[in-house]
Structure formats: structure tokens, C-alpha cells
């Protein structure tokens, strides 16, 4: 099936070339960082995690989001998602590869990465995160490939693969739960030290992942003659709405706990993210515009979906805009605010703001472009197989 990626129209090749340019920039930036060290990033002694880890966290969510397709189809026998589950699995594979790339970009001694396996440490959540991420990656590779091969040959998938399909469901939940546990078990990091972190991560994942799949479906409808079906898209937008609402609800609960208890440590990060944090006469508020943009986009997207559902109207463009708004809102919320907001107050109660460097942004964009490239190639295979079967 691999051969399908080598055949395509000029638009396909132009898109690949466009992405490859960014991959190239990212690669050059990474070589620079590899030769000099992480000093080329905006991270420092007081703020020692940054863009890489926050992208990693967000993308684990995107990977887990595929669950919202697999679960209804395989557990609830919701046939409408039949053509889409493969897209969810391929998205999960790409997202996890991006996660692993972000981790490799973030560690100071990448050549020692295998120490994680040579010296397994069950008390470290990072170890468990590696276990579940690699497990989920493997499961998705097996399931996607076997099921797609069966579809191509127009036979039923072998029975044994369903074992892995069902296994991938708890794994999808576990990857984001364990990723949340990286944060929520650290003493002295008040913003993260919240039992609601894992459910909040899952809620935003179940909105962001499907939102990206809907956008991909709409694009492929135009450029690749692949129609997911109106009912499937409509059901997905309902799922996105509920998940985004639950995420917003969880954020509001964080606000209540912080402000009603009036404990400074629980308020600092929220204050910094949404209103600006005053310290020794200086107001720190770099992320305030980003967070309010996130709020506006989230509720704007929800409003748009609600309007379309109540009035029973809506074009593909409107659905795409709504999904884009929610995806971007959640990226700002989790891919930016969560990590950077939690780190703004150092353990010594100094305020340090984070400014990513151009080199760091180059690597980040490069990894995103690699992810889009992988998604494109894999979706190309999936769609071409579909067309081959139809023909």
C-alpha cells in the first residue's frame, strides 16, 4: 500500500513540497540546537520547560482524540464512523510520532534517550508515559495497517486484530491520563497540583482530536473526493461541542477553587494567564491576550455549532471554521497556557516570563510540519485504498 504515496496530482506534490520546506527549516534549527545545547531556546533555570513540552502535551491529546471515532464504531456499533476510524488511527500515529520528536528535541542529552529503557524506573511518571505512548503507537500501527489491508482485499479483518482494537481504547485514555500525571503530582506547583488535570486533559483532547479530523475530512472532500458523510460530520461536531463544554466547565472549577479559597498559590497562575500578575510593582501579563483569544474562540465555535444545529443550517465552510476555532482555542489553552502558566512563579517565588527563541520556534514548526506530512501521506493511502475498493 506504501506505493500509493508516490502517485498523486500536482496539488498533492505542491502540498508535500510546502511542508517539506518547513521540515527542512526545523531540521537546520535542530542541528544548531544539537551542536550548541538547549541554551538556544528561551528556557532557563527558573523556567526549564517550554514550548516543546507544551506541544508534546497538546499532541498527546490529539492522539487520544481518535478514541472518539474508534469507541462509537467498535463498542457501540455506530456504523456511520466506519470510514473514519482509520483516519483517527492514522492521526494518532502521526501525533505520537510528533510527541516523541518533541521529547527528543527537549532533552539535553538525546543520545542517552535509551537510558529510559536501560534503567526502567516505575516510580517516574515519565517512564510510564513512555510505556503507554509506545504501546498506543504500536497498537495503532497494527490496527490501522491490518484493517486497511483487509479492506483493500475486501475481506473481513482477522479476528485477532479486534483484541488490539479493544486494547487501544483504554490505552487512548491512559496516554493522556499519564501525561497529566507528569504535572499533577509535583509538590509546589500549585496550578498543576489538581486532581482535575487529567479529566480536563481528556475533555480537551476529545474536542481537539475530532476537530482536526473533521477539518481533514472537509479538506479531503474538496481535494481527494473522499466524503465522510453528513451524518458522521454532524455527530462529530456534537461530540466536539460536549467535550469543549466539559473542558470549559473544568476550567471554571479551577477558577472557583482558586478564587473562593483565596489561597495565593492557587490563584497566581490563573491571575497571570487571564488578568496579569502583579509582583513588586510590575505587572506580568504576556499571555493574557492569548488566553482571552482562546476563550473567545472556544465560545465562538460553540455558538456557531449551536446555531447550525438549532437552525439546521450549515455549510462545510461553517463547520470547518467552527472546528478550526475550537482546535485553536484548545491549542492556546493547553499547548500554551497550561505549561507556561504553571511555571510562571518559580519555586523561589520569582516571576519569570518565557519568550521562545526563533530557533526554538523553527524546530517547533518543523515538527508540526513533519506531523502534517505524515498525516498527509497516511491519509493518501487510506483514501486511495477506499477509491480502489469503490472502483
Amino acid at each position: 500500500m506504501i506505493e500509493k504515496v508516490f502517485k498523486g496530482n500536482s496539488r498533492y506534490w505542491m502540498w508535500l513540497a510546502f511542508l517539506s520546506a518547513f521540515v527542512g527549516v526545523g531540521a537546520i534549527c535542530y542541528i544548531r540546537q544539537y551542536l550548541f545545547g538547549l541554551g538556544l531556546t528561551g528556557m532557563g533555570r527558573d523556567l526549564s520547560w517550554g514550548l516543546y513540552i507544551s506541544q508534546f502535551t497538546f499532541l498527546v491529546g490529539v492522539a487520544a482524540g481518535g478514541l472518539m471515532l474508534v469507541l462509537p464504531y467498535y463498542i457501540h456499533n455506530y456504523k456511520v464512523f466506519g470510514r473514519l476510524t482509520i483516519l483517527g488511527e492514522f492521526l494518532a500515529i502521526s501525533a505520537i510520532i510528533m510527541c516523541l520528536m518533541f521529547i527528543m528535541a527537549d532533552i539535553g542529552q538525546p543520545l542517552r534517550g535509551l537510558n529510559m529503557m536501560l534503567h526502567p524506573t516505575p516510580n517516574s511518571m515519565l517512564f510510564w508515559d513512555m510505556v503507554v505512548l509506545l504501546g498506543y503507537l504500536g497498537l495503532n500501527v497494527i490496527c490501522a495497517w491490518v484493517i486497511l489491508t483487509a479492506e483493500r482485499k475486501q475481506v473481513k479483518p482477522p479476528k485477532w486484530v479486534y483484541f488490539f482494537v479493544y486494547l487501544s481504547i483504554p490505552f487512548a485514555v491512559s496516554i493522556h491520563t499519564v501525561t497529566a500525571m507528569l504535572y499533577c503530582g509535583l509538590p509546589g506547583r500549585h496550578f498543576w497540583l489538581s486532581a482535575i488535570t487529567a479529566p480536563r486533559f481528556l475533555a480537551s483532547a476529545f474536542a481537539a482530536g475530532p476537530a482536526l479530523i473533521v477539518i481533514a475530512c472537509l479538506v479531503m472532500k474538496r481535494v481527494a473526493n473522499f466524503d465522510a458523510g453528513k451524518e458522521a460530520i454532524s455527530k462529530l461536531t456534537t461530540i466536539i461541542m460536549y467535550a469543549a463544554l466539559i473542558n470549559a466547565f473544568f476550567v471554571l472549577l479551577e477558577f472557583f477553587v482558586g478564587y473562593y479559597s483565596n489561597i495565593p498559590g492557587h490563584k497566581h497562575s490563573l491571575e497571570y494567564l487571564f488578568f496579569g500578575l502583579e509582583h513588586h510593582g510590575v505587572v506580568y501579563n504576556n499571555l493574557v491576550p492569548f488566553m482571552w483569544t482562546s476563550v473567545m474562540l472556544c465560545f465562538g465555535g460553540l455558538g456557531l455549532f449551536a446555531y447550525m444545529k438549532i437552525r439546521k443550517v450549515g455549510t462545510d465552510l461553517m463547520v470547518g471554521i467552527g472546528c478550526g476555532m475550537i482546535f485553536f482555542a484548545l491549542w492556546l489553552d493547553k499547548g500554551l497556557g497550561f505549561v507556561l502558566g504553571g511555571l510562571v512563579v518559580s519555586p523561589l517565588h520569582e516571576i519569570v516570563e518565557y519568550y521562545p527563541t526563533a530557533n526554538e520556534i523553527g524546530i517547533t514548526v518543523g515538527i508540526w510540519a513533519t506531523g502534517f506530512l505524515l498525516v498527509t501521506l497516511m491519509y493518501k493511502i487510506a483514501v486511495d485504498v477506499e477509491h480502489e475498493v469503490e472502483a
Binding site: 538547549l38 541554551g39 517516574s124 483484541f163 509535583l186 509538590p187 523561589l348
Partner: protein, 280 residues
Amino acid sequence: MDKQRRKFLKVAGATALAGISAPAVVKLTSSPAIASSEHGAAADAHGAPADAHKAAAHGAEEAPKGVRLGLLVDMRKFYGKPELLDKAIAACHKVHNVPQIDNRKSEIKWVWKAPFENVFPEHSNSHSSKIRKENDFLIMCNHCDEPPCVRVCPTQATYRLPNGIVAMDFHRCIGCRFCMMGCPYGARSFNWENPRPYIKEYNPDFPSRMRGVVEKCNFCGERIALGKEPACLEAVKESGAIVFGDLNDPGSEIREVLDKENTIQRKPSLGTKPSVFYIV
């Protein structure tokens, strides 16, 4: 697929999940036992195994067994003498080849000084005394009894020695900086670039580090092994401002001071049980 098979698969999936997660659950539920097994093992050696766990369970202080190194900073002797603090800091940094990077983003420090409100943010800062406002306080790794950095490290590159020192293996560290996230005291520094050009006077008795690894105060483990005192203590020896010794030995100098004076620790509410004490 017919209904029955679907049903079977659901059950099979759930069973498989249970099977896979079982070791993790066992591991998680047994972790308190592991945490206290050190005390248990120590107690065994002294022939009093049964009570150690009980005492720990009730939150009472377990009978001290083995060596637990601790350090006491008598700030009264540092007040008004910032040069004494600088002397202690310089001695440590020289002995340990700590690079002198004058840039807050990339700096590396093992022992340093900071205002009271930064060192003790959980203590009251309103209407603090003049002496408290005007003086800096000496800070370093607390060599906690329950170190979060050791708990989160994915490669055991940071670990706790039997004598209580939280040590680092610079050759195993992958530079993920999870320990820096875990440490609630900001005691750890990362080598954002090659540190060697920033070492002024190289001490051949202690290794320098390479870029991409984390480092911190090691309670002068390498000096203690040779029967020497910690470098910071030695530098301010005549003032008696730093006391070092075995917290578990009732006859040690540090215990004598601790028994006599009121001392505080940094962020005690986090349950890390620091081994560094302060008289303020």
C-alpha cells in the same frame, strides 16, 4: 459481526486491560511499603522491626537508624556579613567546578543567597523585622528524606544514598529536567550550554560537567568520603555559622544545636522532610 461476539470482545477487552494494568496497580499500592522499607531494613538490622512501620503509619517520628546527614545554617552569625555568605558560596563553587555564567537564564548555582521572602515563601512576610528584610539567606539542596526529584527521575540518575545525600549521576542524566520540575526549592541547575569555558579555576579533584545535564549541591559527598567537612562550612569555619553532621546521632554537634535552638525548614508542608535547618 453478530451481537454475541461483540459481547465477548467487550469482556475480553476489559479482562486484558485488567491483566495489563495489574502489575502497575500492585506497584502503586505497594509504593508506601517501598518508601518505608528503608526504615524497615534499618530497623531489622537493629533488631526492632515491628514498630518501625507502625510508628511511620501514625505520623510519629520513626526511631532514627543509620546515618542521615544534615546541615544547619545559623543565620544569626551571617546577619550583617554578606561577605561571609559570599565566601561560603565561592568555596563551594570553586571546589565543584561550578561555571560562573553571569546570565540569569543560564546560570548554575549549587549554593547561593536570596531574600527571606523567596527562601521561605510559606512563612509570614508581613511586618518582618529589619534584620530579616536587610539580609540574604543561604540556600542549597535540602537533601530531602522524601525527595520529589528522585521520585520523578526516569533513569535513576538522581538517587538517595544510604547516608541521606541526594546524589546525581551526571553520566546517566538524559537532561529531561523533570527533577527541576519536581524540586519545590529550585535547587537544581541545568547546563544549557557547554559549561567548561566558564570554569575559572579548574579543580582536577572533581569532575566538570558537560552540557545537557542537571546538577546541584551534593552535600560534599566526595569530601565527606575523605573525612573532610563540606566546603561551605570549611570556608566559614571560624564563625560557626554552618553545622554539619548526623541527624540520627543524638550526640552529634548538629543534634545538640537542634535540641537547644528553635529551627525552621523550607516549605515543611510539602512533606519532603528537608535535611537543611535554619536558625533565623
